[in-house]
């Protein structure tokens, strides 16, 4: 979600195999420098991709002597996913971050083969994406300050997750501003 000079990214913490809940501390948001990546979908691919992107961004960091920017990273995600066009990773990625040079917030989402979905307000993904669309459409407003953005994204996630049997079991929210990153864990229903 985009706010005024800030972005936020959040995910639930559940990992399950079908109806059985397996873990309530499986984080799906990863950061590579100041760029954040949310990965929903097949847990195996979530882990594999997070490791792959750590590899690629570390190599980028050493080659370029600087951290990767959100826009660049979005294209890296896209090409990495499209490389497996005919045997894709089963994931729904989201990228969020603030460009350290232009200081502009950036968010985008992808389908499983890497088609980028640019947005200026919000991006959703996962089993509760329908519910999240509903929440975001009604709760979101542009140019929110970081604290208000935190409240908005948290409410959107929590209430959407409560209407989805496969989501929830706690949540994590990152609020990203130019020079500060705040990570907060949310308590939620454990059923």
């Amino acid at each position: 979600m985009v706010g005024k000079d800030c972005v936020a990214i959040a995910s639930d913490l559940r990992l399950g195999s079908q109806s059985l809940g397996v873990s309530n501390n499986f984080e799906k948001v990863f950061n590579f420098g100041h760029v954040f990546l949310g990965l929903t979908g097949l847990a195996s691919d979530v882990t594999t991709l997070s490791e792959t992107f750590r590899f690629k961004t570390n190599m980028y960091k050493m080659r370029e002597d600087r951290l990767i920017e959100p826009e660049t990273f979005a294209n890296l995600v896209s090409s990495t996913l499209y490389e497996k066009r005919f045997g894709p990773y089963f994931v729904g990625p989201i990228v969020a971050g603030i460009n350290s040079k232009t200081e502009k917030p950036f968010i985008c989402g992808f389908d499983l083969i890497g088609c980028i979905d640019f947005a200026k307000d919000f991006i959703v993904a996962g089993t509760a994406s329908d519910q999240l669309y509903g929440m975001c459409e009604s709760v979101y407003e542009p140019n929110l300050e970081p604290e208000d953005l935190f409240e908005t994204i948290s409410q959107a996630l929590l209430n959407a997750a409560d209407r989805d049997a496969l989501s929830g079991w706690g949540a994590v929210v990152y609020v990203i501003t130019k020079d500060k990153i705040v990570k907060r864990y949310l308590k939620s229903r454990q059923d």
């Binding site: 990992l15 873990s23 097949l42 195996s44 691919d45 594999t48």
Partner: protein, 195 residues
């Protein structure tokens, strides 16, 4: 229908596996050990497609022992978990994937902490205080949710395991011929008397 259970207690991990080796409706063996020792402080328990399981377990065992010899230091539990997960994730997208689910019980000698990792054939890995694969999970998770405490001793852990074993005996459709129980701690891996 194989049973594989793991409980992490304060300074060790308990692993329990069913003794029955079944094919279809027949029990072919009553002393089947579904674990392999990876190194001095790491044990792997496995279930899945028979044939794949032992092949995979021994492949991992060989790789981890090879690493130990080359580097003159044993891999730590989290590194092993990461490695095994990677192998399963790679296998998943191969021509014939290993259909193996594993539990890794380990004790990290550098941090002095026990570790229990659960990995399924897809390459999904989670580190958990207690874990089970397959149908056993449906019958035991509620008991473990209720009775588990993170600061338990091995004896406390074995007491919960007893409850799990009893529940499984009453609910499982076939006799699983009892459990082999092993404990991984600072001193290494040992089998304990159960029943």
């Amino acid at each position: 229908m194989d049973i594989v259970l793991g409980i992490q207690v304060e300074d060790s991990v308990i692993i329990a596996t069913s003794k029955a080796f079944t094919r279809g409706i027949s029990v072919l063996k009553t002393t089947d050990d579904k674990t392999r020792v990876l190194n001095d402080h790491n044990l792997m328990a496995f279930t899945g497609e028979s044939g794949d399981t032992v092949q995979f377990a021994e492949l991992m065992q060989a790789n981890i022992q090879l690493h130990g010899m080359r580097e003159q230091v044993d891999l730590r539990p989290k590194a092993i978990a990461s490695f095994v997960r990677g192998q399963l994730a790679k296998s998943l997208r191969s021509r014939k994937p290993f259909q193996v689910n594993v539990l890794l019980a380990g004790f990290d000698e550098t941090t002095n902490l026990p570790n229990l990792s659960m990995i399924d054939y897809l390459g999904t890995r989670v580190d958990l205080p207690y874990a089970a694969h397959g149908y056993a999970a449906f019958y035991t998770m509620s008991l473990l949710d209720h009775h588990y405490r993170s600061n338990m001793s091995v004896d406390d852990g074995l007491r919960i395991l007893k409850m799990c074993s009893k529940e499984l005996s009453t609910r499982m459709p076939i006799d699983f011929k009892g459990l082999y129980v092993k404990v991984v701690d600072a001193n290494g891996i040992r089998e304990v008397d159960f029943e």
